[in-house]
């Protein structure tokens, strides 16, 4: 079973957790107080760059019969779609720029350039996913109702298709995101009526219609004789955007070490423990300035989950402070190259096509999901927790996890 006692898992005392919470609150306050002209300039420039790329790409694609124009236009349009969805849409709708009091860059008015209607996204993503992050059974992003991403999800026969669903989801990611709000899991469990789902579907349909008409009807029509190459270019840029968004999101949530939690844990939670769940439940990937921008700064998924409504452009600087806290409390800071993070996610998804009986690890001690019990099933590790009397250094979760790797697997009596 996923984590139920987060204090015990994190090897922290009550006082430690409180102190950690206070330090994270202080980071929030510092950033909030220092928001200003430079931040406003950043988002305005990002918007200008994105819209110029979009407009430029559309113009170039008017001449898409030439191969070079097709390639250049498709590239520009792909970039524009990626930036709009990630650095602009996702972050603006999180309210990261609401402090500017600008009605045009505001969570309450932003409609993004993808098939998922903003208003549904703010519910399924901002509310359900960000409040109940990785609580199995409460956060629909734990597999999106179609993927099995943790051993805590009971295996069903149709899970054998896990790798195929994964590939399909990546390809048609924007439609997956749009349909997310239907909450298929709740439908299966009959917690949601089909009438409600139909209503949601109609709203989604309208938005899908507008988006599809733009890419597959209007711009091809405007391109006249080049309509065919315009359609293929638009289709390609949508797919490119889909794969990139999918990749970024999977790397933030499904690598090893992004922990899952039980409903019991959630029910006994206060603000500092909410922070702790966000820290332990998310994963980063290493990125330079360009890659950070292109991922909407979601290369800093940990920082994003701690402070979903602080400006994305500040995550890098917040990250430095979060890492310091991880060092201080000896907590893991899950990160790696994007290839490494994706490889782990892919491995989990492929593996979990199989029922638990065919898998080696347990629901308490697997690479992708663990509980506080993982320390009990191996002998000789528990003594090491707390402050080391000899060195005065804190020996917490990070050290314990390292030692677990070395410790022989032996079931506790």
């Amino acid at each position: 079973m996923a984590i139920t006692d987060i204090d015990q898992y994190a090897h922290l005392t009550d006082a430690d957790v409180e102190a950690l919470g206070a330090e994270l609150d202080a980071i929030r306050r510092d950033i909030e107080e220092s928001r200003g002209e430079a931040d406003a300039r950043y988002i305005r420039r990002a918007i200008t760059v994105q819209r110029s790329l979009a407009a430029g790409g559309r113009v170039v694609l008017m001449f898409s019969n030439r191969k070079s124009a097709w390639v250049a236009g498709t590239a520009m349009l792909s970039l524009a779609k990626i930036i709009e969805n990630m650095e602009l849409g996702h972050n603006v709708m999180h309210g990261q720029w609401d402090w500017m009091n600008d009605p045009e860059i505001h969570s309450s008015s932003w409609e993004w350039d993808t098939t998922c209607p903003s208003v549904q996204w703010k519910h399924s993503h901002n509310f359900v996913h960000h409040k109940y992050t990785n609580v199995v059974g409460m956060d629909d992003d734990v597999g999106y109702g179609i993927l099995r991403v943790t051993r805590d999800q009971p295996w069903e026969w149709w899970n054998v298709g896990n790798p195929i669903y994964n590939f399909t989801l990546g390809t048609f990611f924007e439609y997956g995101v749009a349909l997310h709000h239907l909450e298929t899991e709740k439908l299966r469990k009959k917690e949601k009526s089909y009438r409600q789902a139909l209503k949601d579907l109609r709203i989604i349909g309208r938005k899908v219609g507008k988006q599809a008409a733009k890419d597959y009807l209007i711009f091809p029509a405007l391109a006249g004789p080049n309509w065919k190459s315009t359609i293929t270019a638009n289709f390609t840029s949508n797919i490119v955007r889909n794969y990139w968004a999918y990749m970024v999101i999977f790397c933030g949530h499904f690598p090893d070490g992004a922990e899952k939690f039980t409903v019991e844990e959630y029910e006994n939670e206060d603000q500092p423990r909410w922070y702790l769940r966000q820290m332990l439940g998310s994963a980063n990937f290493r990125a330079g300035p360009l890659m950070r921008f292109m991922s909407g700064n979601l290369s800093h998924q940990i920082e994003h989950h701690l402070f979903p409504d602080l400006p994305s452009s500040r995550y890098e600087e917040i990250g430095v402070r979060v890492r310091e806290l991880c060092d201080k409390y000896d907590l893991p800071y899950t990160t790696g190259s994007i290839v490494h993070q994706y490889f782990q996610s892919f491995r989990t998804i492929t593996k979990l096509a199989l029922p638990n009986a065919l898998l080696k690890a347990t629901t308490d001690d697997a690479p992708e999901t663990a509980s506080e019990l993982r320390f009990a099933v191996r002998e000789g590790v528990q003594d090491h927790f707390g402050v080391d009397p000899a060195t005065g250094r804190r020996r917490g979760l990070r050290t314990a996890l390292r030692e677990l790797k070395k410790a022989p697997v032996r079931a506790a009596a």
Partner: protein, 370 residues
Amino acid sequence: MDLLKWSKRPAVGVDAKKPQVNIVRGLIARATTPLLPDDYLHLVNPLWSARELRGRVIDVVRETEDTATVTIRTGWGFPDSYKPGQYVGIGLQVAGRWHWRSYSLTSIGDEVDKTIAITVKANPDGFLSAHLVEGVSPGTIIRLAAPKGDFHLPEPLPDGLLFITAGSGITPVMSMLRALRARDQQPDIVHVHSAPTRDDVIFLEEMEKMDGDLLSYDLQLQLTREKGKFNIDQLDSEVPDWRDRSCWACGPVAMLDTVEERYAEEGLREQLHIERFAIARTDVGGEGGTVTFTKSDKSVEIDGATTILEAGEDLGIQMPFGCRMGICQTCVVPLAAGYVRDLRSGDEHREGERIQTCISSVSGECTIDL
């Protein structure tokens, strides 16, 4: 007909001056969806957007030591006409943040050159007014809200008018005076205006010139350093026929209160028109107060720990809600009037800003359109 509606639909929220423009806008928006063409055009020229009204500051001219007239070229969508005495919302970006305040228009509403003017007094505690007077340079792009307000002259004009103004309360009345002069209308006007010294009188020269030129305009300056504050009882001696005049009054809250009281006592309240600049705030440490929900027509007194979301729900109002912890932005609504305080940061938000009801409580009083 349906086709016409379909063409306009994406631009339905845009107040275009010419409705035909929204057909074009709506049709192009099929290609720019989910944005409007304006969203691209204003990157080329900030004034080319009717989605959000914009203006460019043309110049800033000092009127007195601490007041200045700001002339603004208006962008697409700004109404061509408004009534003298109305006010306009001005949004100015300071340290990355847009701040909104309302100012009376001192221009008269039939300009041909698409400009408007406001006259602003830099209040020592008025953060934005100081910026407008001291810090705004020609060329600055600002945001605008369409002119509104009931403080204007009726048609047809009453025969006798009385203006009671003080300090920057002169601004809406100046707009009326200028409009009357421009249209060559000459009703009988008595104008009692208070200011500490002659140097503090905004538009002094212009008013004195009118006083000399026009038989029908009588300016009575009340220089308060010499004569003391305006007292409502003065009217009986200085404007004996005040009861026969329609009165427009604008100035500090205390002055307006005594004027209003007197008119009410005499049963003349209907003859009095008042413009209050300062919103009355029950200053009990900014904690708690009255929340009014206009659409539901309900209001309630809450303490500073109760959120506006809870207050609304307790009244049975369908409030938008989500995470209830300030992270999901589902409950964001515009603040129609008054002040709220963000319980997480302690920041105060005011009219024209959007607030998260789940983490905000009232500070004095506030109004929400729900």
